[in-house]
């Protein structure tokens, strides 16, 4: 029962993390480790590097993000990710859809979730 619930929660996270990554990259570039760390600051979004990197690869293949190696202020060169023009459009669209979904779910769940 518990593991089923964990698995469903994990699926929620995987769905939301794509939008979260686009939000992180909106207006700022970041390398893989930074993205993993930034997501980890939000317990609801904490997801393993093993999920983040394949997702970054898929987003790059889809033309939503781009990457380039850059010198890092600290440590070795890093591969930085940023939104493409298409990615900015995709982000705006997904963010709008998310807000609609979130509002609808808020209505449905109102008063039904014990805190």
């Amino acid at each position: 029962m518990g593991s089923d619930s964990d698995s469903r929660t994990s699926q929620f996270r995987k769905g939301a993390v794509e939008l979260a990554i686009l939000a992180l990259l909106d207006g700022a570039e970041a390398y893989g480790g930074e993205i993993v760390d930034a997501l980890a600051k939000h317990p609801g979004l904490a997801i393993s590097a093993g999920t983040v990197y394949p997702l970054l690869s898929r987003l790059k293949k889809a033309g939503v993000i781009d990457s380039a190696w850059r010198e890092s202020p600290v440590g070795p060169p890093r591969k930085y990710y940023r939104l493409t023009d298409a990615g900015r459009g995709e982000f705006a669209e997904l963010a709008r859809a998310w807000q609609e979904l979130s509002a609808a779910m808020g209505d449905l769940l109102e008063g039904k979730v014990s805190r």
Partner: protein, 321 residues
């Protein structure tokens, strides 16, 4: 206009629609079973009920049915959606089945099996996937799991998961030629050591060892030499041929990694054979140390190639900046 009876069940569908629906569901069912998705029968029953519900206000014609099925998409994609939340192994299986559905690949009692002839692409995708944190992935050939050297390289901090945009795509010809020296050198070692000691070899050589590292069965010396020789020479020739003929970095790296694996195992087993044939050995750690070359050699070769590709990408990006 002809008044049609409402569709209540599959028996209300015209024969062509019934056949179309059953063909579609049968393909979904087959894909679900291959993907080791549990409760395939329930899933099919649920899908059938959904389709019939959707057709309730229609004449059930093939055109109406096609419209409903189009919402599901191709049967294999629909089935893959049911397994999308499964294990990484299931994802590898799904990727392979997307490549080409085959009864020669799948799972039995939870164990992955692969009976298709290995291809460079399949070797590469299983052995070098640094973005996948799982060190053990379904085997390239046989039953069970292989090592994902990409995950191992990441664990050992030899490479980052996203070090290369496309694995080995930016690696130079010179780096591939240098990497070839590993299987070529190991093969030369097997041949050279045989030629050096053949006059002193006994007529039979160890063929099997106990856990304590002592030989417990023997076979003719020529056979003991021929098996590692054929393994290392054939895989090395394949790698040399691929490097010479293919422009695909993935194919080149895969065949070099494969040759490094087989030639290292061959050299390790041959070394163990010679050591124990000459009366030395008997230490428990000797067989695992010799055979473990089959892990370290491909790990070293593939990691070095990936680091070379990473360096090339860094030069490209940082020179352009």
């Amino acid at each position: 206009m002809i008044e049609s009876a409402a569709v209540q069940g599959a028996h209300d569908l015209p024969p062509e629609s019934r056949e179309l629906l059953e063909t579609y569901l049968s393909r979904v069912h087959g894909a679900l079973l291959k993907g080791a998705v549990g409760e395939a029968e329930d899933t099919i029953a649920e899908l059938r009920a959904h389709v019939l519900d959707e057709l309730a206000d229609t004449d059930g014609s093939p055109a109406a049915l096609s419209g409903v099925l189009a919402e599901f998409g191709p049967p294999e994609d629909l089935a893959a959606g049911f397994s999308a939340g499964g294990s990484d192994d299931a994802q590898v299986d799904a990727d392979d089945h997307a490549e080409k559905p085959s009864a020669l690949s799948g799972r039995v009692l939870g164990l992955p099996y692969e009976l298709r002839i290995p291809t460079a692409k399949r070797i590469a995708s299983r052995w070098w996937d640094p973005r996948n944190p799982r060190v053990f992935v379904p085997r390239v050939f046989g039953v069970g799991w292989d090592v994902n050297f990409g995950a191992l390289a990441v664990l050992l901090h030899l490479i980052e998961p996203d070090a290369e945009d496309e694995p080995f795509a930016a690696v130079s010809d010179r780096a591939f030629l240098a990497a070839l020296l590993v299987p070529v050198g190991l093969t030369a070692f097997v041949i050279g050591s045989y030629l050096a000691v053949r006059g002193a070899l006994p007529p039979t050589l160890p063929a099997h060892w106990t856990l304590a590292g002592r030989p417990d069965s023997y076979w003719p010396a020529l056979g003991a030499f021929a098996v590692p020789l054929v393994m290392s020479v054939s895989s090395t020739v394949w790698a040399v041929w691929t490097v010479a003929r293919s422009r695909s970095g993935l194919a080149r790296a895969a065949t070099i990694g494969f040759a490094a694996f087989l030639s290292a195992v061959s050299a390790g087993v041959w070394t163990l054979t010679l050591i124990t044939a000459m009366g030395a050995g008997g230490q428990w750690w000797l067989p695992p140390v010799c055979v473990s070359a089959g892990v370290w050699a491909p790990l070293a070769v593939l990691s070095a190639l990936a680091r070379s590709g990473r360096a090339a990408e860094q030069r490209r990006d940082m020179d352009a900046a």
